[in-house]
């Protein structure tokens, strides 16, 4: 066995040259002097220029789009918090929620006579406990039950009297009856 480099004259060392891209290569044979050995080599036939074209046409070269289109919302990592409170799920077993409705059947199941469930609703003010009515009825009730507040809350009392006077005139002179549409809307 003898090396090929000795056969190919004029070359001191073997240089490997990669063929240009997108070239159609054809295998050719070079006949050497010293032997009848066929060494196949590749030569260019033609250059496929269309392969170098970009598959997607690039527009606005060098332009950086500040909107990042990944995901449902813009996510720009600026490090600042979003202008929205962090989601916290509702706590369904706080004491208030867990024991909601606790004494609602105390008149049925309780030991003491004369107990009513509305007595245990401490979040309702005195003049609204066990009451259901329209604004006019509510204001009259407040006026008669909280008369001792006149001196300590003069502005509130003044407004209350004004409102009662206005509602009396409106409901009695401007509406047909207490079941009028204008009343029910209130």
């Amino acid at each position: 066995m003898f090396s090929i480099s000795k056969l190919v004259t004029g070359l001191s060392r073997v240089v490997h040259i990669s063929p240009p891209p997108n070239t159609l290569l054809l295998e050719t044979s070079i006949r050497l002097e010293a032997s009848s050995l066929l060494v196949p080599s590749k030569g260019t036939v033609r250059y496929r220029y269309f392969e170098d074209k970009p598959k997607v046409l690039m527009r606005k070269y060098g332009y950086k789009d500040k909107m990042d289109f990944k995901g449902p919302l813009p996510r720009i990592p600026t490090g600042m918090p979003l202008p929205m409170p962090l989601y916290q799920p509702k706590k369904n077993w706080t004491e208030k929620k867990a024991l909601f409705g606790q004494n609602d059947y105390i008149d049925i199941l309780g030991d003491q006579e004369g107990l009513k469930p509305i007595m245990f609703q401490t979040h309702i003010p005195q003049w609204l406990k066990g009451f259901h009515g329209n604004e006019f009825q509510m204001l009259i009730r407040k006026h008669k039950m909280l008369g001792n507040r006149v001196a300590s809350r003069p502005q509130e009392w003044h407004n209350l009297r004004k409102r009662i006077k206005y509602l009396y005139r409106f409901l009695n002179y401007n509406t047909k009856s207490f079941m009028d549409k204008k009343v029910l809307r209130r």
Binding site: W93, T94, E95, A98, L99, F100, G101, Q102, N103, D104, Y105, I106, D107, I108, L109, G110, D111, P117, I118, Q121, H123, I124, P125, L128, G130, F131, H132, G133, E135, M138, L139, N159, K162, R163, Y166, R185, R186
Partner: protein
């Protein structure tokens, strides 16, 4: 045979749970160790195995252990007209379940027809009757300022106005806004509420969510004991323990303090909303006695205008 036939029809109609047992043939199975326990309820009877007449075991072999709690005295009850419901009495001492006996439950309370519209009305009432809507918007008379005419009527070329607090102006009063605290108070008819309780208890029993326990005494105050117990017995995630008094034993009070979905309640606090919110309802035997006493009194009293019978039908 007739009672057996009636039993099968009733259980088919209402889809009763596996808690229901045939009164005629009761096979009582108990664990390997049963320790005698003092039981202080007035109505339960502690019967020896030898003098037991209600539990008829049709097997040839005698039972392994003696039943501690069998039978209960049911008032206002005619066994020929209606069939009593039954439930196991369990213990709370150990994580593993041990049956201490089988007790009868009154059918008017625990076998009432589950009228869902009545249960719904009760829940809606519980939510609404104590709700107050505090929304209020000031009218032009209540807003500060606005007494003076801002500019003369004519001559300026501006629109004519009488006050800076009219509803047309920014920061003016609201003409037809919400006015003052609005209450939604109303009382549901008394016997509708009574039947609401009965229907919910019946639903709980029929769906295997009602457990009867002898007392609420547990061995340790560690919440893990209760969690393991609830896990082992496949009780719901949330449990409501009901006792007849409002002073609870120390251990269970400390254990349930840290677990928010396991709650304690006295009998007078029992209500439809809580029974539906908590998956499992656990009643002590004393609570069951008192509950029956109260509800049966109301269902059978003859001094009211609206008889309780109106809500006991299967339909409106």
């Amino acid at each position: 045979m007739q009672t057996l036939k009636r039993l099968s029809i009733v259980s088919d109609l209402f889809g009763l749970s596996k808690n229901f047992k045939d009164i005629r043939s009761v096979r009582l199975y108990f664990g390997s160790e049963i320790h005698p326990r003092p039981y202080s309820s007035t109505q339960a009877t502690i019967i020896d195995d030898k003098t037991n007449e209600t539990a008829v075991i049709q097997d040839d072999e005698p039972p392994k252990e003696a039943a501690l709690i069998i039978g209960r005295q049911l008032d206002f009850f005619n066994p020929d007209l209606r069939l009593a419901r039954q439930a196991w009495v369990e213990n709370l001492d150990t994580v593993e379940e041990r049956k201490l006996g089988l007790v009868d439950l009154h059918p008017s309370i625990f076998g009432a027809f589950p009228r869902t519209e009545i249960i719904s009305d009760n829940v809606v009432w519980q939510n609404l009757y104590k709700h107050v809507n505090w929304n209020k918007m000031e009218t032009r008379g209540e807003r500060r300022g606005g007494g003076r005419k801002p500019w003369p009527q004519k001559g300026l070329g501006k629109a004519r106005h009488g006050s800076i607090r009219s509803p047309l102006w920014i920061e003016g009063g609201k003409a037809h806004g919400p006015r003052g605290p609005k209450t939604h108070f109303y009382m549901l008819p008394f016997y509708k509420r009574v039947h609401g309780l009965c229907a919910t208890l019946s639903v709980k029993l029929a769906q295997d969510d009602l457990k009867i326990v002898d007392t609420l005494d547990i061995p340790s105050e560690d919440p893990k004991f209760l969690e393991q117990l609830v896990e082992a017995r496949k009780w719901g995630i949330s449990v409501l323990f009901v006792d007849d008094s409002d002073i609870m034993p120390r251990n269970i009070a400390l254990a349930t303090d840290s677990i928010h979905h396991i709650n304690l309640m006295p009998l007078y606090g029992l209500n439809v909303y809580s029974m539906l919110k908590h998956e499992t309802l656990v009643l002590t035997l004393a609570a069951v006695n008192k509950l029956e006493e109260k509800l049966l009194f109301h269902l059978n009293r003859n001094d009211s205008m609206t008889p309780a019978r109106r809500y006991q039908n299967a339909h409106v």
